[in-house]
Structures are given as C-alpha cells and as structure tokens.
C-alpha cells in the first residue's frame, strides 16, 4: 500500500459514507407525499421562477461589481 493511499483512505471513507447517506436520504424521500394538485404545481413552479430571478440578480450584481 502506498503512503498516498494510507493518507487519503480516511478522507475516502468519510466521503463514501457521506455520499451513501445522501443517497439513502434521496431514496427514502424519492416520492413526494403531498397531493400534487394544480395549485401545488403552480406554487412550486412559481418558487423555481422566483429563485432563478433572485439568483440571476445576485450574479448580475456580482459581475457588475467585478467590472467596476
């Protein structure tokens, strides 16, 4: 076993364990349990649009600050 492997193996284990946990959580909650009525779909779509606009504004501010 190389020294690089010995040094990296604890980190590898931690990341593998974390990824496994995230994967398990994604599996556990894969199916949304709320009744997906039209109203719920509209609300979720509006939220996505809202967040995209907000993130767009943040990027605009960031790049316009860089240009100054």
């Amino acid at each position: 076993m190389e020294i690089k492997d010995i040094l990296l193996s604890p980190f590898k284990r931690v990341f593998q364990s974390a990824f496994k946990q995230v994967h398990d959580i994604n599996q556990r909650y894969a199916v949304p349990h709320i009744k997906m009525s039209n109203w719920v779909r509209i609300c979720l779509l509006s939220l996505r649009v809202y967040l995209i606009i907000l993130v767009g504004l943040l990027f605009f501010k960031f790049f316009s600050s860089l240009q100054k």
Binding site: I25, Y29, I34, Y50, L51, L54, L57, K61
Partner: protein, 423 residues
Amino acid sequence: MNFWAKLFYQYRKLWKAIKIYLMIAGPGVIVMVADNDAGGITTYSVTGAQYKYHMLWFLILLGPVAYYVQEMTVRLGAVTKRGHAEAIFHAFGPFWGWFSLLDLVLTDWLTLVTEFIGMTAAMSIFHVPPVVTIIVVCIIMGAMILQGRYWTWEKIAILFCSVNLVYIPGAFLVHPTLSDVLYNSVIPHFPPGGFTNNLFFMFMANIGTTIAPWMLFFQQSAVVDKGMKEKDMFWGKLDTALGSFFTVMVAAFCIIVTGTVLYGTDIQDAAQAAIKLMSISKMTGTLLAIGLFDAGLLGAICISLASSWAFGEVFGWAHSLNHKIREAPWFYAFYFFALVSAGVVVLIPGAPLILITLFVQVIAVTLLPAALVFLILLLNDEETMGKYKNSLFENIVNGTIVAVIIAVSTLYGISAIFPDMFK
C-alpha cells in the same frame, strides 16, 4: 353549591389550567422573544431614533402577523411529529428538501455570526474583550444543552427571555410622554415628512425582523422534541400568542427608549445607541447594552439548535435535547461546530462582518418564501393534517400575510443587493 364552594372550584380549575400551560409553554415564548435578536434590537433602536414613536402602531400590527405564521408550525409539528426540514423532504421530495436544509444551514450560520457581532459589541461597552465574550457564550450555551434534558434547557432559555424585558424599566427611566406613546400606538399614520423611501425601508426592516426562516424550523422542531400532541395544541397556540405579545412589547419599549432620548440622532446600530444613551442616562444605556447582549444570546441559542435539529431529522441522527452526548454525538457535534466556527469568524481581524450582515438578508430572502409556501401547502394537505388543516379564514389570513411578507422581504433583500434603490 354555595358561593365559596363555586369560587374554590373555579380557583382549582384555573390553577389546573395554569399548571398545564406551564408544562406545555416554552417553544412559542422562546421563539418569539428570540425573534428580537441582535439585528432586531438594532432595527428598533434605529426606528426609534429616526421616527420617535410614529411607527409603534405598525409594530403592534406585526404581533398578530408573527402569531398567525408561527401558529401553523405548532399545528404541523403536533400532527406530523416531524420538524419543518423533515416535513419538506417528506412532502416535496429531495430537491426542495436539500434546497431548504442547505439554505437553512447557511442562513443560520451567517445569522449566528451577526448574533456574535451584537454580543461582542454589547460587552465591549463594559470593556469585556470579544474573545472573552465568545468563550463565555460558548460555555453558557454548551452547558445549557449538555445537561441532557429538554425541560431544563427550555426553562433556562425562558429565564434569558425574561432578561429581554429590561427595556420596560429602561423606558420608564427616560420618562416618555404617555399620551404621545398611546396616540402613536393606536392611530395608524405616517411620521412627519410623509411616505419617503427611507420610511419604506424602515417598514421593510421591521417586517424583515418579525419573521425569519429559522423561526419556522426552530418552533416546529421544538414542538416535536417537547412531545406536544394534538390535544396540547390549544396550549401551544396560547404559548405562541403570549410570545407574540412579549415580542411586540419588548420591541415597542425599545423604540420608546431610543425615541424619547435619541430622536433625531444619527445612529447605525444598537451598541452605538447604548453608548450615546449612557452619556445621557447611564442606567438606561446600561440596560440597553444588557438587552442587546441578551438578545444576541437568545438568538444564538435558538438559531444553532434550529440547524442541528434540522440536520438530525433528515440524516436520521438522534437529535433530542433529552439525549446525552454519547447517545446523539452528531447532533451535538454539529451544534458546537456551528457555534464555535461562527464565534471564531468574529474574532478574525479584518473579517468582512458588514458584508456578512448584508449577505444574511439576501440569503434569508431565498429561503423564507419557500419555507412559508411549503408551510401553507402542508397545512392545506388533508392527508397530512386531517381535521387540523387550515380553514378558509386561516387560508385568507395566512395567505395574505405570506404574500405580503414574501413581497416585502424580497424588496428588502434586493435593497441589500442594490443599496441605492430605496435611498
């Protein structure tokens, strides 16, 4: 039954009700009083200094707003036995779940930094070095959760909540004009100068301090950790109503203090207000500084727990304050990591603390609308809530409140990105 027997019966009935309330009380009062955190006290101090008592009526209106939003978390927690983070994962799937959880952790950590900024600023007035303040705060908060009982933690937190009432004697010390205070509290009006951009900014700031994303997550998780059931809901609601009364009272008295003494003075934050007050009335300034420290401490207590509970719920770790450290190591490790890292950031020379304070508002705006919309949707889901789902009246009231909060907090967040917008 004669008169005395009836009186004794009524007394026993009332005493029993008080005992039940005292057993169930806690999450509502704590979350509401902690809502007046270091940032909140700064907002109220500046509001008083700029507009005297003219915004008291508006602040009183915010009491019911806070109650209606937080009351929904009581119902959701008591019925589902899930914290808000877990409820979002369960109902809306991993995308919205991870978005809410990671955004919450970031918002909470940044807010925690601002609480430390407030606490160190307050203690600096008493010549306590920031490093000592941060170490003492970490020890106090560590001791509070490591004793291994939710009940004890809650009662200590309520003790700190009572310290927040120092603004009441503070207001009496500065002798405000009672008729002015009463008039401005009950008659809605604009301050002299009319509706200006600055006034609009102050309206937004006051609404922004009333509902924060961590409050939803904290109260729902606290309701679950306390083991509140459907039958306890009335008492949970009463607890929340009492808490909203206290939060408005503390905020109003803070405004009365700075409005009476510092009206027309240019102040930027609560610590500066306390220093200026000390030169006029040493006792009042001291009370304001103590109040600021306590506000930061209460905020830190609740915010750090909100994140730890949320992570524990989703990752399936043991995450109750009733657990010992060896039974819930990840829960406590996460709590201490957030606490200590936020404290360390404040001590770094040249750390961008003003930028962090502004960034909190922006990040909170990305989470608050989502958390509020999820709350309304969950409260309307018959399968989840059964007979405890929102009534038509509750939907009208809560829907209006949520729409206004989303609009105003978005404008507030945008004003942090583009500061000249409302100037």
